[in-house]
């Protein structure tokens, strides 16, 4: 079954090619069939391959398949080769499975759009690139997928290109992620000259013997890779593109900007975990970046009006949790949270998309309200997703994954009370903004009329995702209830287990505190926004609160800072130099020549006598000189 591996990315690619070549001539039904079918087939192949992988684990823990040698120059010979181990298996499962659900949803969601085939073409290309990213056996091929998903993200954020704002949001996303990508390219160069190869399994195998622990080269390389991850995964300070990326259609936000692409950074760090383990500094920076991001984005999410922007900030925050987990060495916990997050965040985005569409493209939560009874399916599925996001104890996948991270932030040998405290505060804000979103959207009075209800194509994926948002948590249970470790066992072939410094027996205390954070957040918002709304009105009147509100709403001023420091000077320099200052030099030479020409041409009067006089005077001067000297 090993030889089926190439089919997994090839099927979406085939779908893309068909849609690009013939999309204009196919009916909408055929377009949807191609678009959805290719991904679904890939999902089926994934299941077959995955089943094989689990039932008869390959030697060395990975299936490998070399397709062809990409290039071969002076010993540098990266191959187009795929490799499947348990880490990639988790990712391709999430990508193809959630991907196909989102494609099904899109078939309904985009039905009225005139560019139906373009949408599916881009989505298929995205899935292809993402699969290449996680299946690549070397960093260069991974870089191909890495940039490919960036391109697709660009195309899909700017999908409704007629509005220039969407185009600019798309460009911002591409350029900011490219900054990270460039750093990552430098990381690739360093790795190549250090190890003489870009094949990931070889790098991870030889790194501990080549590099000393905590050597500066290890730190620099790890940080360069981290910069790449920060760009793609929207971590501080490269997070500003993700909220704007919500300009794309909702399925795009669900697939690319929640479930898959933005977690590429998590994948990269997990994949190259050996390099990070060699540098305590780099790993600490990963943890700090994650911790700061999760808090910053969490507070921003509290103050948004646009339902999709709340979810966007929430995504940044949740990926912050994953980075934190990676930083404290809780590798499997990060991947577990990735999977749970993919389910519930895709669900939330799709449900939000259904609401937005039903209300006639209304994004503001303050104009929603009262949707509980009007859209029951959406309400219940959204509720399940929200419960998972706010880590409602025991019944949600989000609880099990996030609780694990909270615990490791304290208990891992790289953890610290401060990291735990930020994560704890983050859990509190998560619960708070989630509840706020639920209340504003579904409770209270209805403010906007419903256009049309979502069809079956859209609701069925919601229900399936809601099911997994609950169930996915049960494959990995804490030791004090159940101690079920299916997920981490699967990954332990690739990722090391976490080293603890604290005793497992104290874990229940932290679980209790997590309970408190979640319920505290929910309760507080419930009081302020629903029970006694006058309280929030009174709070709004104080100037310091208003300032803070605006500061958080604007994403902590990062956009303005970058505008001031990078964008404005660049545009200014480009503008003043539009006519190329170097050319002034050559034009100067030209104008000197021109002046000389004018001076000398004044002597050419056209009068014959003038010329003869000139000749005579010249002759006299020459003769005179001859005689005198």
């Amino acid at each position: 079954m090993n030889n089926l591996l190439w089919l997994i990315p090839a099927l979406p690619l085939a779908g893309f090619l068909i849609l690009v070549a013939a999309g204009k001539h196919l009916s909408n039904k055929l377009v949807a069939l191609t678009g959805v079918g290719s991904i679904s087939l890939a999902a089926v192949v994934t299941i077959i391959v995955g089943f094989n992988f689990l039932s008869s684990p390959p030697e060395g823990g990975a299936y490998a398949q070399t397709l062809w040698t990409w290039m071969d120059v002076a010993g540098f010979s990266p191959k187009i080769a795929l490799s499947l181990d348990s880490l990639s298996l988790v990712f391709i499962f999430v990508i193809t499975f959630i991907g196909s659900l989102i494609h099904i949803y899109s078939a309904g969601f985009m039905a009225a759009d005139k560019d139906y085939s373009r949408f599916f073409a881009c989505m298929n290309l995205f899935v292809f690139s993402m699969l290449v990213l996680v299946l690549a056996d070397n960093l260069l091929l991974m870089y191909l997928g890495w940039e490919g998903v960036g391109l697709c993200s660009y195309l899909l954020i700017g999908f409704w290109y007629e509005n220039p704002a969407n185009g600019y949001a798309a460009r911002k996303a591409f350029v900011i992620t490219r900054i990270g990508d460039t750093a990552m390219a430098l990381g690739l160069f360093t790795i190549y000259y250090q190890f003489g190869t870009l094949v990931m399994s070889e790098i991870t195998a030889t790194a501990p013997s080549v590099w000393q622990s905590n050597s500066s080269i290890a730190t620099v390389t790890a940080l360069l890779l981290l910069a790449g991850g920060m760009g793609k995964s929207a971590q501080l300070p490269l997070q500003t593109w993700l909220p704007d990326a919500m300009a794309g259609p909702s399925p795009v936000s669900a697939l690319i900007h929640a479930a898959t692409m933005v977690t590429a950074g998590v994948y990269l760090i997990a994949r190259m975990h050996v390099l990070f383990e060699l540098s305590a500094t780099a790993q600490m920076i990963v943890a700090v970046v994650g911790a700061v991001t999760l808090l910053v984005a969490g507070f921003s999410a509290l103050t948004q009006y646009d339902i999709k922007r709340v979810l966007a900030y929430s995504t940044i925050s949740q990926i912050g949790y994953m980075f934190l987990a990676l930083g404290v060495g809780a590798w499997t916990a990060a991947i577990f949270h990735f999977m749970a997050h993919a389910f519930f965040k895709a669900l939330l985005f799709l449900a939000a998309g259904a609401i937005i569409e039903a209300l006639g493209h209304e994004h503001s939560m303050f104009k929603m309200g009262g949707l509980k009874d009007k859209m029951p399916v959406v309400f219940w599925t959204f509720l399940i997703g929200a419960a998972s996001l706010s880590a409602l104890p025991l019944v949600s996948a989000g609880f099990y994954s996030k609780d694990q991270i909270l615990w490791y932030a304290w208990a891992s040998d790289k953890g610290s009370p401060l990291l735990w405290l930020t994560a704890f505060l983050g859990a509190f804000t998560t619960a708070a903004y989630t509840t706020r979103m639920m209340i504003l959207t579904f409770l209270g009075d209805s403010k906007t009329g419903i256009g049309h209800h979502p069809g079956k194509l859209m609701t069925i994926p919601l229900i399936v995702l809601a099911f997994f948002s609950v169930v996915a948590g049960f494959i990995e249970l804490p030791h004090n209830f159940g101690h079920f470790t299916l997920f981490s066992d699967l990954l332990h072939g690739v990722l090391p287990s976490t080293v603890l410094r604290a005793d497992e027996s104290s874990e229940w205390k932290f679980q209790l505190l997590a309970f408190v954070a979640t319920f505290g957040g929910i309760y507080l918002v419930f009081i302020y926004y629903y029970r006694e709304p006058y309280k929030i009105e009174r709070l709004r009147e104080s100037p310091s609160f208003q300032w803070l509100y605006r500061f958080w709403h604007g994403g902590w001023g990062f956009d303005r800072l970058f505008d001031l420091v990078f964008v404005t000077p660049f545009v200014f320099l480009a503008k003043i130099n539009k006519r190329d200052v170097v050319d002034r030099f050559y034009e100067g030479i030209a104008s000197v020549t021109n002046h000389l020409y004018r001076l000398l041409s004044a002597t050419q009067t056209g009068s014959l006598r003038w010329y003869i006089m000139g000749m005579v005077i010249g002759a006299i001067i020459i003769l005179g000189l001859q005689i005198m000297l």
């Binding site: 890495w146 185009g167 490219r178 430098l186 160069f189 250090q194 170097v582």
Partner: protein, 510 residues
């Protein structure tokens, strides 16, 4: 003989087009098409034939060597020879020649005979430059390439064509004269050393030159090629020439004429003056990096589409210069790839600019917008080539830039770090092209049509080649590798001679 045939066919075709163009306006383009097709097939078949036998490590890298006496008393011979590098560039010449004829098909309606005469004679000059192994002959072809181009810009260009044509001519001519001086200097030094006065490249190769003089002679060549490439302070002719030239003119300028500069550096500057070139390496790499960043920033600020693309060429050629003076095999192969892929991607963008101008009668991108909804095919292709020019993996330019940067990283980390800034800036300007032309609200243009069959044909070929080169660049790499290998060996032999004159920063290199 095949080389002589190639030149003969192009010359004959051009002259025939000129003569027969007196009677009929459409005959010349057919003659030109048949001529370039024949030339292209000839060289392509030769490549196919030779591809299997190319061996990286063979000592004799020359595939063909044709020599006849020309002016014996001055030691001038009619000497043509090609190795893999020249072969690739000749294939490229034929390929772009076909595209140039095809994209002039409807655009040129006046004095067609003289137009195609000029077009084909430029190709004569370019292919001559790629095969001449006698410095006098090389200089001859170098000038042959120049004059028809001057007419092409000056007669069939747009509003400001006379200015652009003069600027182009003066820049290239002045720098060409410096090269002539350097050639003569080399000729006399070699003559005094050995008593044999000759312009033959192979005999001049081992000339022992006093180091001070060597630097000056090298500078003569370097400046000529740097102007053609163009390198940072000498680039200002390029935007004017590109933006005023007719589409085929821009295509050939970007695709072929710039490449002769890089070819000259690889073929003449490094092998003839290895010591002086090594002294020049660091400044040249810095100039290259300045070009990368400067070109990209200027490209961002332009509003004239063709000018914008012209500045992207400055940026991309900065990569070429950096790569050449990194002096290692990775970077050299990257340079060769960059020559090929830049010709394709930038050529495609120029062709597209021509097509847009044909429809909207403007090159100002502020007056465009929303073209995707009217012309989805052009939109998709435009997007693809914008992506190629920002170096998206999977397209040929990525391989080129990655190899160049990888090679340069070995030599100087900081220069490479600044060069990678070019990757970010290229994203900024490329996306600006997409945003301004294809996205945004659409204005009322009236009825504009999408690609015609001829345009689809041109663009499909370009698309297939750029994607093909991005996923499987090995044919190009293999073909160039014997020549590149020899160059590297030469430099290595030399490095051991001059000892500490090159300071390689190899701190990160194990």
């Amino acid at each position: 003989m095949i080389l002589v045939w190639l030149i003969g066919i192009l010359m004959g075709g051009g002259t025939a087009a000129l003569v027969l163009g007196q009677w009929n306006k459409t005959i010349p383009r057919w003659i030109a098409l048949v001529t370039v097709l024949t030339g292209f097939l000839l060289i392509l078949i030769f490549w196919m034939d030779q591809y299997q036998t190319i061996d990286e490590h063979s000592a004799d890298v020359w595939l063909i060597d044709f020599k006849r006496d020309w002016i014996l008393s001055f030691g001038i011979s009619f000497h043509l020879a090609i190795d893999g590098l020249s072969l690739l560039l000749l294939v490229l010449t034929g390929f772009l020649g076909i595209l140039a004829v095809l994209c002039s098909w409807k655009e040129i309606t006046e004095r067609t005979g003289f137009y195609y005469f000029n077009l084909l004679w430029i190709l004569v000059g370019v292919s001559g430059v790629f095969m001449a192994m006698d410095l006098f002959l090389f200089y001859f072809f170098w000038e042959v390439m120049l004059i028809p181009m001057y007419f092409l810009i000056g007669i069939w260009g747009s509003e400001n064509r006379i200015y652009a044509a003069y600027k182009f001519f003066i820049f290239t001519q002045a720098s060409g004269l410096l090269m002539l001086l350097a050639i003569l200097g080399l000729y006399f030094i070699h003559g005094q050393n050995t008593g044999i006065y000759t312009f033959n490249y192979f005999e001049l190769l081992g000339t022992v030159i006093p180091s001070g003089t060597g630097l000056w002679l090298m500078m003569g060549f370097f400046v000529a090629f740097a102007v053609k490439l163009p390198v940072f302070p000498f680039h200002t002719w390029l935007p004017d020439a590109h933006s005023e030239a007719p589409t085929a003119g821009s295509l050939i300028l970007a695709g072929l004429l710039l490449k002769t500069g890089a070819y000259g550096l690889l073929r003449f500057v490094i092998p003839l003056f290895p010591v002086a070139a090594a002294q020049m390496a660091l400044p040249a790499m810095i100039l290259g990096v300045i070009g990368i960043v400067y070109g990209a920033v200027l490209a961002y600020s332009q509003t004239d589409l063709k000018r914008l693309v012209a500045f992207t060429s400055v940026s991309h050629m900065g990569f070429v210069l950096t790569g050449i003076f990194a002096f290692n095999e990775l970077a050299f192969q990257g340079v060769v790839m960059q020559l090929v892929t830049h010709a394709i991607s930038t050529g495609a963008l120029f062709i597209m600019a021509g097509m847009i101008k044909e429809r909207l009668h403007t090159r100002d991108i502020n007056q465009m917008g929303g073209l995707w909804s009217r012309m989805p095919k052009m939109g998709a292709i435009g997007l693809l080539f914008a992506m190629a020019s920002l170096g998206l993996p999977g397209l040929g330019n990525f391989i080129a830039e990655f190899l160049i940067l990888l090679g340069a990283f070995k030599v100087s980390i900081w220069i490479t770090v600044i060069a990678t800034l070019g990757l970010i800036f290229s994203a900024v300007y490329s996306l600006r092209i997409v945003q301004k032309i294809f996205w945004g609200p659409q204005d009322g243009y009236g009825n504009i049509r999408d690609f015609s069959l001829r345009e689809i044909l041109v663009m499909t070929v370009l698309t297939l080649s750029i994607v093909g080169l991005g996923l499987y660049p090995q044919p190009v790499i293999d073909t160039a590798s014997p020549a590149i290998h020899k160059l590297v060996l030469l430099l290595e032999a030399d490095k051991s001679n001059i000892g500490k004159e090159i300071k390689y920063q190899e701190s990160y290199v194990r």
